[in-house]
Amino acid sequence: MKNRVLKIALVVVALCVGTRALAWENIGHAVIAYNAERLLDPEVKAKCRHYLKASIPFYATWMDQARSIEPYTVCDKWHSTNIDAKYKVVVGSPTTGAYHIERIRKEMANGAYKTMSDSLVKINLQYLIHMVGDHHCPVHVRWSKEEHPQFHYSLLSNGKKLHTHGFWDGAIAFKRRNWRAEKHFDHMQKLSPKQAKKMQKGTAYDWTQETADVWRKHCFYAMPAGTDRAKMSSEDVATVHAIVDKQVQRAAYRLAGVLTEIFKE
C-alpha cells in the first residue's frame, strides 16, 4: 500500500513538473483563449470554428506540446522574444515569437487567408492563440544573463528555492484554487469598444515591449529576490493579481483583436 501511495505521488509530481516550465502554465493559456473567445463577435467566432474544428481554448496549449514534435520543432523559439541591453525589444529576429506573430498577421491580412489551404489557416491560428498569450507573460521576455544579471534570481516557497519564472508562469492561479475559466472571465475588467480598440493597437513588438516594462517596473518590485510566496501579505498578493490580471486582459483583448482583424469582412 505504502509503495502504491508513493508511486502515485511520483506520477502526480512528474505530471506537475511536466507543466511547470510553460508560460502562463496551462491554466493561464486556457483563460486567455477562453476570454478572447467570449469577446469575439459571432461571425469571427464561426470562422475560427470552421478552421479549427474545435473551440479556441482547445488549442491554447497545443504549441507547448508540439514544440518537441516534427515538423513543429521549428516553433520551439517562438514562445518568447529577446530584450536588448537597453531594455528594448529586439525587432526582426526569426528566432523570436513577436516576429512570427507579425509575420502571420501580415500573411493572413486583407482576406489573404482565403488563398491559403485550410490546414495552413488552422496551424497559423494555433500559433497565434498561443503566442499572443505567451508574449503577455511577464517572464516571457528574454533577458540575457550577461546584460541583465539582476533579472535572474530566485524566490522562495515555504523556504525552498523557487525560480521566479515558475512563480510568474502560474501567478494567475496563485491563491485562486478551483477558479474555472468562466470565473476568470467574469473577473476580467471589460472595456468599451473604444477602449478595446486602443488596447488592440500596435504590433506584437509593442506588446512585448510593454510586457518587458511590466516585468522591469512592476514584477521585479512586487516580488523581489528572496520573497517567500507562502508568507506574503494579502496586499502583496493583491499587487501580484493586479499585474497578472492586467496582462491577461491585454492578451485576451489583443488575441480577439488579431482574430477579428483577420476574419472580419
Binding site: V5, I27, A30, W62, R67, S68, I69, T73, D76, A173
Partner: protein, 259 residues
C-alpha cells in the same frame, strides 16, 4: 514534504478511483442531457435527485473490464463484466416500478459509471492480447525536449504513467481551468457529427466498436515503452471521441428506457 506527498497521493487516489476526471465525467453527463427527450430528461433528473436522498452502494469500478473474444465480440454473461452490468442496469431502469428506490439508484449509478468504463480504452480486455488484461507502467516523455539534441537532456521531462491512468485522467491536465460545462461544449462541437451514428446499436455493438479502436494500440502499447508527445496528442482525440460516444449513448439509453 512528506505531508505534501501524502496530500498529493490521496488526491491522486481519489482521482484514480473514478473513471476519467470528475470534470470530464461531468462533461459527459452535460452532453447526454442535451440529447435526451423531455420524458427521458425528467426521468434522469428524478434519478439524480433520488441518488442524493436514498442510501445506496456506489458502483464498484475498480478492476471493471470489458471482456472481448479474439474477434472482438462481447459474448460473456459474467456478472462482473462492464457490458453485463450495463445491460442489467438498463433492465432495472426500464422496469423501475418493480424495483426499490435503492435498486434504482444503484442501477443508475452503475449505468453512468459503466458506460464511461466501456468507453475507456484501458478497460477493454481482448482474448489473446496479453497487455490488454493487466494495467502496466510506462515512461512518457514531456514537452520540453527541444529540437537540438545537445539540449534534449536538459529540457526533456519524463515521468512514469500507467496505461489506465493515462486513459482515465491524464489528458485533462492540458485543459486546466476548463469547467465541465466548457468541456461539454467543446466535445459536442468537435464530435457532434458522429452523434446519430453513435446513438444506434446495442451495448455489445458498442463494446465491439471500442475494441476495434483498442486492439491496434497493443501493437505498440507495452510495459516499459517510451511514449512521446506526438502519439499522446493523437490519443487525446480518441479519448475525447470516447467521451462524446459515451455521452450520446447515455442519452440513447435514457430515451429508450422511458419509451
Amino acid at each position: 514534504m512528506k505531508k505534501i506527498f501524502l496530500v498529493i497521493a490521496f488526491v491522486a487516489m481519489a482521482f484514480s478511483a473514478k473513471a476519467w476526471s470528475s470534470v470530464v465525467n461531468g462533461a459527459s453527463f452535460h452532453i447526454a442531457k442535451k440529447y435526451m427527450t423531455k420524458e427521458a430528461l425528467a426521468e434522469y433528473n428524478r434519478l439524480v435527485a433520488l441518488r442524493k436522498t436514498v442510501e445506496h452502494n456506489s458502483a464498484e469500478v475498480k478492476d471493471a473490464k470489458v471482456m472481448l473474444d479474439a474477434e472482438l465480440r462481447s459474448t460473456t454473461t459474467c456478472e462482473k463484466d462492464v457490458v453485463v452490468r450495463i445491460e442489467r442496469a438498463i433492465e432495472v431502469l426500464r422496469n423501475s416500478a418493480k424495483y426499490t428506490d435503492k435498486e434504482q439508484c444503484e442501477a443508475f449509478v452503475t449505468l453512468r459509471q459503466m458506460l464511461i468504463k466501456l468507453h475507456t480504452i484501458s478497460t477493454i480486455a481482448i482474448e489473446g492480447v496479453e497487455h490488454s488484461h493487466h494495467d502496466f507502467e510506462f515512461t512518457w516523455s514531456g514537452n520540453r525536449e527541444g529540437p537540438s539534441p545537445d539540449k534534449r537532456d536538459k529540457y526533456e521531462t519524463r515521468g512514469k504513467l500507467t496505461w489506465s491512468k493515462m486513459w482515465n485522467s491524464s489528458f485533462c491536465g492540458w485543459h486546466q481551468g476548463w469547467s465541465s460545462n466548457y468541456y461539454a461544449y467543446d466535445i459536442d462541437l468537435r464530435f457532434g457529427r458522429i452523434r446519430e451514428q453513435a446513438m444506434q446499436g446495442t451495448v455489445r455493438d458498442w463494446a465491439h466498436e471500442v475494441g476495434e479502436r483498442a486492439k491496434p494500440m497493443y501493437e505498440w502499447a507495452k510495459p516499459d515503452m517510451l511514449l512521446r508527445n506526438e502519439p499522446r496528442l493523437r490519443l487525446e482525440d480518441i479519448h475525447l471521441e470516447m467521451v462524446a460516444r459515451s455521452a450520446y449513448r447515455l442519452a440513447a439509453i435514457m430515451n429508450s428506457v422511458v419509451k
